[in-house]
Subunit: 384 residues, 2 copies
């Protein structure tokens, strides 16, 4: 197993791209990553995507995208793990390069969601949950998360408003990210008055979907001569699962797959939570930020909201999170999100993230979640 470096990053803005298809979006992010790396050819392509079959009537993205980018013949396929598809594809590319099976791998996360009717998108997103025991009973994906948040408030005695700092922080950071879907700073008052979606989740607890693609280029770190940009290396990578249906879990308020994958990634990297300089977490809903922080060892059980209330999650704080806007404000093009998170972690480690740059950031972590905690993939990156 050899160490792998990320030498190119690319992304499209997250938004409504009526004029662009899946292949257009993927191609745009890929060419940006190749340009960033100064490379023209790659051995293999790993695609993170959840909904192309349902929403765009298009599967077989390996053949589609490799052909479109002019790399006819290259090895390519799609990896799916619901909203965790992006990081799952990244991990597949990472293993292929680290194993010496390939010399280079492109990973692209791509999703095209806004051309569909809202009801179609809601139904498509419900495929992340248990079709027989959750979705078929009328539970939408947001409703599942609402049940979890309700239980959390009840169990630990927090108020809904205690979650406001997560959304306010994400929106504030996205103001400086040109690729974010939402450029709209919000206040505590906005949060309190936001329209209810599924009680207690309101519009400012929930991330907006969108169209978008993000890409990275992976090569063996040992092959590289010193370059202009700081070299970002992958030092931890792990994936774990949990019961897909919330009701099957011993404790619906504990993301055991987050704990398992984070612990494994920490061990690989030889670090602990105290060494992480920033954390790109999966804030699909504000409750998920809190559960992720607790399961990864950044807060005691039931104490996650404290980090927000104490101002520790801002870019100047002890543990900056969602530094480029997170899912909440950068947007959540589901199968692409995991790769966006990694692109943003690279920006931080290269000190290309001003004015939301985390000063002196040397070790960053990203975590991507598929379903309401069923598949969780954690990565840790560093730079010298």
């Amino acid at each position: 197993m050899r160490t792998v470096a990320i030498i190119g990053i690319g992304q499209t803005p997250v938004g409504e791209h009526w004029e662009k298809s899946i292949r257009d979006l993927a191609g745009e992010a890929i060419f940006a990553a190749l340009h960033d790396a100064g490379r023209a050819t790659v051995d293999s392509l790993f695609i993170g995507n959840m909904l192309s079959g349902i929403l765009s009537k298009q599967e077989n993205l390996g053949g589609l995208i490799s052909d479109w980018i002019g790399m006819h013949g290259m090895e390519a396929h799609k990896v799916e793990a619901a909203c965790g598809s992006g990081a799952a594809a990244f991990r597949a590319g990472l293993i292929a390069v680290s194993s010496e099976e390939v010399e280079s791998a492109l990973v692209v996360g791509v999703e095209k969601m806004t051309e569909s009717l809202p009801i179609e998108t809601t139904e498509a997103l419900a495929t992340a949950a248990d079709a027989d025991y959750e979705s078929a009973q009328g539970l939408s994906f947001v409703a599942i998360n609402a049940l979890v948040m309700q239980l959390y408030l009840h169990t630990y005695g927090w108020k809904h408003t205690d979650f406001a700092p997560f959304s306010i922080n994400a929106h504030a950071n996205a103001m400086h990210n040109p690729n974010a879907r939402l450029h709209e700073a919000i206040t505590q008052k906005d949060y309190v008055n936001a329209r209810m979606v599924a009680e207690p989740i309101n519009l400012l607890d929930a991330s907006p979907t969108g169209d978008g693609a993000a890409a990275v280029l992976l090569v063996p770190a040992g092959s590289l001569a010193p370059g202009i940009k700081p070299l970002v290396k992958v030092i931890g990578s792990a994936s774990a699962t949990d019961s897909i249906a919330i009701h099957s879990r011993k404790d619906p308020l504990w993301l055991s797959a987050a704990e398992k994958s984070a612990r494994k990634a920490y061990a690989q990297a030889g670090v602990g939570p105290q060494d992480i300089d920033f954390f790109e977490l999966h804030d699909a809903f504000s409750i998920m930020s809190v559960l992720s922080l607790e399961a990864c060892g950044f807060a005691e059980r039931g104490q996650g909201p404290r980090l927000g209330l104490d101002g520790e999650i801002g870019v100047q704080g002890r543990l900056p999170i969602t530094t480029r806007g997170g899912l909440k404000a950068r947007g959540h093009p589901v199968g692409a999100t995991g790769v966006y998170q990694i692109v943003e972690a690279v920006q931080q480690l290269r000190t290309e993230a001003a004015p939301t740059q985390v000063e002196g950031a040397k070790i960053g972590m990203s975590q991507n979640i598929g379903g309401s905690g069923a598949t969780i993939i954690t990565h840790i990156f560093t730079t010298e």
Copy 2:
């Protein structure tokens, strides 16, 4: 990179399993593979599946199936490459084990198709083609293959009936496979009189879909003490792509991704076509058998039908193919097919395939195709 062995195989019959869901089917094949291997636990799970999101409203199969089989927490995700999903998932599991990233991997191919309306299935299968430039123009997947077959007949001067031996051979072999969907020997007369589907493809040129799952268990070959069953090792594995749309290819009658992946697999294994004792090829349509044989070096360009007419493809012939019935008669549960092919190759190499056992088989090859040639994955296996 360490050598990987297949120590367990399992499968469900291919058919209409009204009483079984995706998780039931996958679990049945997985438990059979574990039982066959005499193991109870595994590190990781790779799932080949194409249509669960569209037809069963279920994605996130990693969480779903790992939970169902009681291996809560294990790493698991889905790999999709249209009808090539099964072999793509196998290759992902293979790389994970050979790289030492994991110590063991289950690979399961699973598909649930027959609960849907025929029109839904036809639309779902069309996602293997180019949605914008093929499917949206009214081309179904069988229609695309019909255009290719028509061009082949026109270009090389063969008659439709020259393809009969491929279907007759597949049906004959399936008679002895208890897991095959069709147990119905056919004659030349049946072939000629079969109902037309999309000219020149008739019902006996086309493989039937179905529900089913097949699974294998992969471990490092070096870790094993001599066992009762012959050890089957993977000695070649490669994947390649071609333009997804037929009209974009320089030569629509040449499967360049088959040629590329087969050449690479031959080189890894240190063998050539002359060394292959049997070939589980992707006979979704009889024309695909012919194109695959040519691209992999078993026949001259335009001469593929000759192998059938000369009786070389039967289990006693020079190059036995579809020895357990192939897609044509074992059935084609699309995302599962690639794993069925590998299970069947293992049966041959273990000499468990009587009465269609290939005598003295030491080196077997399988090839799985996604779309009409867009993604092609080739594997070579051996036993001592």
